[in-house]
């Protein structure tokens, strides 16, 4: 008897909050109107932000994707701040991911997260949305010795979400496309005619149609699988799919459809065995464009040299996004979890990662940024001048020649934190029947939209 009435009392106690919250669902929350505004990229001082005191510890997690940078940075840090004990925990890839998801909610974990955006907890945008990271603007605004001038602004702004800078890009890449004047002539395209998003897509499509029966020809050298093509288009074509800030699914009907149809009609060859890479496909006229490069570093330079040595004239331009600007991809980024107790040290370490020593590489020419370009503009220029200058490519003695390449790299109009694997997976799953010809575009698109709607609400 006693337990019954006791239990009833508990239930009614719980009913009240449930009814209340259901009630608040019925009335649209005032927050909805706030979300309609767009967030500015201007850094604003938040008075309520409390700066931590400096401590004497710093914990970092190192694994394959960031160890190149952490080791030298730790050396510099220890010299600058000898009183701080730095603990670098070395982990395997799997351990890293698992530990973050268990430790961060528990208030533990590293003081600074440094990794590709894939490893920021599955979906980097959702992670930013869950308020896990410190707004770095607050730290920078209060620091007289540091500012983000001199860094490539459009790349750095990729880490801004809802007006706050949660993520700091450290390294970025872009997709330079290489072609040759000769093959353009042969196919009847002019150099200018492939420079816009529309015309590039058009040229590639025409090439594929023309050579559909030639068996081994494909407009894009690394576009042999739908996944690869999709990945390139989603990032560099700058398809957002989900607007996280507004919490809505946004697929630009026309441009998305164009891309999907392009992928559908692209020839599906066997998985590439890299015979077409490094310009070989261009030289042998098997490809119209080479899209296998990820930045304009040594691989790119070798390819240019190789093409020149075969007697042809290389031509480079950037993969454009649907607005005809250039989208870069942030390769490695850093963030400071709010639960960290050593935020000051983490911030100091972050500044070292952004400093010339790390961004530019050491005096022996070894670069710490494995795959991409530095975000510090002076380091970027210096490194590219050096790489090009030391190479065998024709024209490398001419500064203007090098400057034209540098301008391409610096002239990024927008940067992206990449497409989360899950979202990419949705597109593949929904669109595969369309690519295989089993279902119509509208059916697949509807199913994609419903998947994305569900996902964004999770």
């Amino acid at each position: 008897m006693k337990s019954k009435t006791h239990a009833i009392r508990i239930i009614s106690g719980l009913m009240i909050p449930i009814v209340m919250s259901l009630g608040s669902c019925a009335v649209p929350a005032s927050d909805d109107t706030d979300q309609a505004e767009t967030y500015s990229t201007e850094a604003r001082l938040d008075e309520s932000f409390v700066m931590q005191e400096a401590t004497d510890k710093l914990t970092l997690y190192s694994y394959t994707m960031n160890s190149d940078m952490i080791t030298p940075a730790v050396n510099i840090f220890s010299e600058m701040y000898p009183d701080v004990s730095v603990d670098v925990v070395s982990l395997s890839d799997e351990e890293y991911v698992n530990l973050l998801s268990a430790e961060l909610p528990a208030g533990k974990g590293p003081d600074l997260i440094l990794s590709p955006t894939d490893d920021f907890g599955g979906d980097v945008y959702k992670t930013m949305n869950s308020n896990l990271f410190v707004d770095l603007n607050q730290l920078i605004l209060r620091d007289d010795t540091f500012s983000l001038d001199g860094y490539i602004e459009n790349v750095m702004n990729a880490g801004i979400y809802k007006g706050k800078r949660y993520i700091m890009p450290i390294e970025y890449g872009l997709l330079p496309l290489v072609t040759t004047e000769e093959i353009l002539d042969e196919e009847g395209f002019s150099a200018d005619s492939v420079q816009t998003y529309e015309s590039f897509l058009d040229a590639a499509r025409q090439y594929n149609e023309r050579h559909a029966d030639d068996g081994d020809k494909s407009a894009l050298s690394a576009g042999d699988t739908s996944s690869m093509l999709l990945r390139n288009f989603l990032i560099y074509g700058s398809f957002r799919l989900i607007d996280y800030e507004k919490n809505s699914v946004s697929i630009d009907e026309t441009s998305f459809r164009e891309v999907m149809e392009f992928i559908k009609d692209a020839p599906k060859n066997d998985p590439p065995d890299f015979t077409d890479s490094m310009g070989a496909g261009l030289i042998s006229r098997r490809n119209l464009f080479d899209n296998s490069l990820f930045s304009m570093k040594t691989a790119f330079i070798s390819e240019i040299a190789r093409i020149q040595n075969s007697g042809q004239t290389p031509l480079t331009f950037m993969w454009k996004n649907a607005d005809n600007g250039v989208t870069a991809e942030v390769i490695n980024a850093a963030a400071i979890p709010k639960v960290s107790e050593n935020q000051v040290n983490a911030y100091r370490f972050l500044k070292i990662l952004l400093s010339e020593e790390i961004q530019g590489g050491n005096s022996d020419g070894i670069t710490y940024l494995r795959y991409g370009h530095p975000v510090l503009e002076s380091s970027l220029r210096a490194q590219m001048k050096k790489d090009f200058g030391e190479s065998d490519i024709i024209g490398s003695e001419d500064e203007k020649y090098i400057d034209s390449y540098i301008d391409l790299v610096v002239g990024v109009s927008h940067a992206s934190l990449g497409t989360p694997d899950t979202v990419e997976g949705f597109v593949e799953e929904a669109m595969s029947p369309f690519w295989d010809g089993k279902k119509s575009y509208d059916e697949c698109c509807a199913s994609l939209v419903s998947m994305l709607e569900l996902y964004k609400d999770e």
Partner: protein, 293 residues
């Protein structure tokens, strides 16, 4: 004098009982109640770094989420369909086994196998059967029925139900057999003498006497349905077809996305639902005349 003695004895008994339960209670407190309270606390905060009290805002947000509502609906649907189904199937098989025909031991051992198989092997096996080019579709084609997509379609719900029943029947069969064996043979003998038919015996003797165990078996079946998430996850992925997107998917995905607050909110709501469910079952049990608890 006597009264004092008995009440002293009663208190001593009471204390002994409590001491017996103490290790379990302490363990329960440390490893389950305290974490639960932490979870409850976190569900009201803004984010894991920030203890700011959000009131019921988090709950409102989660309830507004279409994903959560879908997950809740699907989980409920699954429990309402799969749990009675498995109880009936297990009871049916247990009744067959109860006859103790020859080979009874062999069959009983057989039904335990699905429980025993490691999850990964089970999933592999189900993938092979239900894949688009899998065994089931081949059989259907052979029979002249058009094969259909099983895994990435609304049919996934039935695949999951079948998986759940297949895997957990062994559990329930063991328990049902124990329940059946608890009924004294003398009752049936008396009924035979009175000339009652088998079906009357079933409804008047068997059925009522296994009722107390049914509460217990139902609770366990529901727990197992929550556990079946692991197989569902391995077989259908973390974002499966809408028909089987359940609360565990919602929670697990938020766990992967480092959004523990949302997970905590979802968990508390599940807790409330379970609380109410068990309460109702408790009262039904008391009503059915069961003397214990």
């Amino acid at each position: 004098m006597n009264k004092m003695k008995t009440s002293k004895l009663a208190r001593k008994e009471s204390l002994t009982g409590f001491l017996f339960c103490l290790p379990s209670i302490i363990g329960m407190l440390v490893f389950f109640v305290v974490p639960f309270c932490l979870c409850l606390y976190m569900s009201f905060t803004e984010s894991t770094g920030n203890g700011r009290f959000m009131g019921l805002k988090n709950y409102a947000e989660v309830l507004k989420s279409a994903a959560f509502r879908l997950a809740a609906g699907n989980t409920l649907k699954f429990i309402v369909i799969a749990v009675p189904a498995i109880i009936l199937v297990s009871l049916f098989i247990a009744l067959l086994l109860y006859k103790k025909l020859r080979g009874y031991h062999f069959f009983r051992t057989l039904f335990v196998f699905p429980l025993v198989l490691p999850t990964a092997s089970v999933v592999l096996f189900f993938q092979i059967i239900f894949a688009e080019t899998g065994l089931l579709n081949h059989v259907l084609e052979f029979l002249g029925i058009t094969p259909t997509e099983w895994i990435n379609s609304p049919n996934a719900f039935y695949v999951l139900v079948i998986l759940y029943i297949w895997k957990n029947s062994g559990y329930n069969i063991i328990l049902s057999l124990s329940a059946l064996n608890a009924i004294p043979k003398s009752y049936y003998e008396a009924a035979d003498i009175d000339g009652a038919s088998k079906s009357v015996q079933f409804f008047k003797i068997t059925f009522p006497l296994i009722m107390p165990y049914t509460f217990f078996i139902t609770v366990i079946s529901i727990i197992n349905s929550f556990k079946s998430f692991r197989e569902a996850f391995l077989l259908f992925g973390s974002h499966p077809n809408k028909s089987i997107y359940m609360l565990q998917h919602f929670m697990n995905n938020n766990f992967q996305n480092l959004n523990y607050i949302r997970l905590a909110v979802g968990a508390i709501m599940i807790f409330i639902a379970i609380f109410l469910l068990i309460l109702i079952m408790f009262r039904l049990r008391v009503k059915s005349g069961d003397t214990e608890l």
